[in-house]
């Protein structure tokens, strides 16, 4: 069987799903991709993730793994012969987990606020930029988070890059002006096929975001 028993339930626009796609591509794992309609969830999704009913879900040999960062760690542990995503040193691993957790704790919430408020609300935009600046600080002068090699934190964060155009346009921001090193890092990541092939088209993401705002009565 071509997919070797690996199925990914996803939605094309989800930055969380993209993380899993990057991880699978980095490891060279073949899988079956299934696009979910989140307004009409499939029986399979509801069965495989009854707790949250969310994507992404990785189904490996019939067993589901949920929550994107948990899935990425699972992928790293199962397909462990090559291209490690997490460092081998326990302290560096802890640093990686810390920063990936930071992205989940702080960035997504800040982004949602930018997405669902009008451009005049500068508070939300500032909060979002502040979070990016902390991440830029953590990157420092290194090519990737954690050093010379592309890894876990890069995967956790870079998938938001394809949403930046939407946030900039809707939030009245210029992210490159505020965080030039972070944008340089994102472009460096985009040179990797695993990243460029997994991230959605920023203009399509923007159209989707505009649609969401209309749906929720923001515009």
């Amino acid at each position: 069987m071509a997919s070797h028993g690996v199925v990914l339930l996803n939605s094309w626009v989800s930055m969380f799903g993209m993380r899993v796609m990057i991880a699978l591509k980095e490891k060279g794992v073949e899988y079956e991709y299934r696009e979910e309609n989140l307004t009409d969830k499939s029986q399979l999704l509801l069965e495989m993730n009854p707790i949250h009913k969310k994507i992404p879900v990785l189904i490996h040999n019939g067993k589901p793994v949920c929550e994107s960062l948990i899935i990425v760690q699972y992928i790293d542990e199962v397909w462990n012969e090559k291209y490690p995503l997490l460092p081998s040193d326990p302290y560096q691993r802890a640093q990686a987990r810390f920063w990936a957790d930071y992205v989940d704790q702080k960035l997504y919430g800040a982004l949602r606020k930018v997405l669902f408020t009008k451009g005049e609300e500068q508070e939300e935009a500032k909060e979002f930029v502040d979070v990016l600046k902390v991440l830029e600080g953590a990157l420092g002068e290194m090519p990737y988070f954690g050093g010379e090699k592309f890894g876990y934190v890069d995967i956790a964060l870079v998938t938001f890059y394809c949403w930046f155009y939407a946030y900039e346009t809707l939030g009245g921001l210029n992210i490159e002006a505020e965080c030039p090193k972070l944008i340089a890092w994102a472009k460096r990541c985009m040179e990797r096929e695993s990243v460029s092939k997994s991230l959605a088209d920023p203009h399509k993401v923007y159209d989707f975001a505009v649609g969401l705002r209309k749906k929720f009565g923001v515009d």
Binding site: V65, I71, Y91, R93, A94, R97, F98
Partner: protein, 222 residues
């Protein structure tokens, strides 16, 4: 051999700190405990954890770690005795999943919220907390003493606060959340947990917790 200097910055009533202490005790790792007043944070805390400014912070031979789940995994990887996480990747993913679930649905936005809320807010918070507890009950059924079987592990440490802190919140908030007849497996697990040697003598005194949470309830009413 590298000297093992371990310091833990904590706050006496923080469940996030307690789980790190249990892990260190289980592994037999000696450590120096430094009490922080989180309402009056020390320069040391702000220097060691500038991102979140929270406890626990673990310092191991100058290496600084923050966020309790991150610290637990570090402790597990650095000291191999008494493993906390299972070996199998799928079981590890499941343990991480349930720890995250409980943290989000029962701890942060669940029980403490229900204890503080009034009227409709209370009903809503109580309902979702109980729903989440039902899932945990399901995970415990037929497992043995602990989530992973006969030995205490990561998921037990992640949820351990339920066994001694939840009853205090129920008391202080005059709310019944963990009904033992409805959650027999969880009730049995709570009893095993509080009696475990690594946990038993390290819990904060109940009366002190009652006073503390009564005060917080007044301050944080919703």
């Amino acid at each position: 051999m590298e000297s093992q200097e371990v310091k833990l910055l904590g706050f006496w009533v923080s469940p996030f700190v307690h789980r790190v202490e249990w892990a260190l005790k289980l592994k037999g790792v000696p450590y120096e405990y430094i009490e922080e007043d989180i309402f009056n944070k020390s320069p040391l805390l702000l220097e060691l954890n500038p991102v979140h400014k929270k406890v626990p912070v673990l310092v191991h031979n100058q290496k600084v770690l923050a966020e309790s789940f991150v610290i637990l995994e570090y402790i597990d990887e650095n000291w191999k005795q008494c493993p906390l996480l299972p070996q199998d990747p799928y079981d590890r993913a499941k343990a991480r999943f349930w720890a995250k679930f409980a943290e989000e649905k029962i701890l942060s936005d669940g029980a403490w919220r229900a204890a503080r809320a009034k009227g409709d807010n209370r009903e809503k918070a109580l309902g979702s907390t109980i729903e989440a507890l039902e899932k945990i009950e399901g995970e415990l059924k037929g497992k043995g003493k602990f989530f992973g079987g006969e030995s205490i592990g990561y998921l037990d440490l992640a949820l351990g606060w339920i066994s001694y802190m939840l009853p205090v919140w129920e008391d202080v908030g005059s709310i019944k959340i963990m009904d033992p007849t409805r959650f027999p497996a969880t009730a049995a697990w709570m009893s095993e947990f509080v009696n475990h040697p690594a946990v038993k003598d390290s819990l904060p005194p109940r009366d002190k917790m009652i006073i503390y949470f009564e005060k917080r309830l007044k301050e944080l009413e919703i």
